[in-house]
Symmetry: none
Subunit: 240 residues, 2 copies
DNA sequence: CGGAGTGGTACA
DNA sequence: TGTACCACTCCG
């Protein structure tokens, strides 16, 4: 009768062991508890407690205590829930407790294709072209001089009505922060959208046309990163 | 240095004593352990152990081992969480995500008496006179004959619009199941309520007038219980 | 008094 | 509603 088992945990510093124990009785019988043992033998029963043992040196942000694995998507989830980093959303009368947008779902159990308005948990409403609400806002440095925005590569083209370079950058950076999946840009063509914006916009993708990234592009970017790291290293030496 | 003290424990059969010992050192310094001593001097260190000593004859379900007192609310809490035993509740349009009832709270931190609508966790809404939604439903026996409802004592009077004996019984039994506190009936007078039902109803109390229970009533009820037990004992003998 | 094991609760 | 955390019980 194998009720517990200890194992190494590759996501943690060496010496830590992980144990899974099945509850044998009581109301919670059958549930499992996960414990860890530190290299010095201390039993650790929760993530906060583990953080206390590991100290500042080890970042548990992406560590899933239950599974014992690093969860790379969890970090984005956490950011998304930080309201200071949420997108500006459509402003509507607050008496509507339901999100204003609804989602059509398909009842797969039924043979005919039935569509229905789904209630319950939904994605929060997204405003198309919300970036325009940020127009006129700028990041400034400590002396309140406006920081120059980045330039866009020539092959990154905006999709939508009168989007500034700034808007497009906001759109891209938001998509990088908010999306769990790949960030690819809009699949539809530029002409159709400028006539009827919103008709076919994918609110989860930035407002840029899909762009072909070549091996060349990747190489060039890698070189830039390497060069930047080299310069940072130089600068650090200067500080010692 | 008084670290322990023994005392009688009125919630237990006579002869049982209770002792409280403060832990002096270690990680748990300052915490207390509670022990009991049975009439024959045996030390008892836990509730399961006590149940073993007392046997079937004494019900420890409501006994709080730590405090040594009977806790009437604990057993009812367990029942209340069984959704099959919840009251029929008001049916309202589901678009209202907020409970329809609100609770006024007093901001005690403020010197003026401020009232405010409290959001967040609240008691579930209670429908006044919800019993009427059960009208026409009856318990039946295995041959689907309707079981005769109980009769009410003459001094138990309904409070509310056209409540049947059945409604009143439902109301009383629900209150006995759901309430943590004493079940006393409505404090207001019958006349006012039949004109404006709901005006001053206490939804936590059954819809009966407050009734004086005399020593006589209690005696009579005790006799009934004793008689019922005697007859049960007879019947059990017949089965052997 | 320690600690394994379960319960209870706040939070998402 | 489920889950994570931690308080608590019970017994060594």
């Amino acid at each position: 009768m194998e009720l517990k088992r200890q194992s190494d945990c590759p996501s943690l510093p060496p010496g830590w062991r992980r144990e899974e124990v099945v509850r044998q009785s009581g109301l919670s019988a059958g549930k499992t508890d996960v414990y860890y043992y530190s290299p010095d033998g201390k039993k650790v029963r929760s993530k906060p407690m583990m953080a206390r043992y590991l100290g500042e040196g080890f970042d548990l942000a992406t560590f899933d205590f239950r599974t014992g694995k690093i969860n790379h998507s969890s970090i984005r989830k956490r950011i998304r829930q930080d309201s200071s980093l949420s997108l500006p959303i459509r402003q509507t009368a607050s008496i509507f407790k339901q999100p204003v947008t609804v989602k059509r779902i398909r009842e797969d159990t039924d043979s005919k294709t039935k569509t229905d308005l789904k209630h319950g948990p939904q994605d929060p409403p997204k405003q198309l072209f919300w970036e325009k609400r940020l127009q006129g806002f700028h990041a400034v440095d400590s002396s309140e001089d406006i920081l120059k925005a980045l330039d866009l590569p020539r092959n990154v083209q905006g999709v939508g009505p009168e989007l500034s370079t700034e808007n497009i950058l906001q759109s891209i950076s938001a998509a990088l922060h908010m999306n769990n999946g790949p960030v690819m840009g809009q699949g539809n063509n530029k002409q159709a959208l400028s006539k009827n914006p919103g008709a076919n916009i994918d609110a989860n993708q930035p407002h840029i046309q899909q762009t072909m990234i070549t091996e060349e592009d990747i190489k060039r970017q890698e070189m830039k990163v390497i060069e930047a790291r080299r310069r940072l290293e130089e600068a650090m030496k200067g500080l010692l």
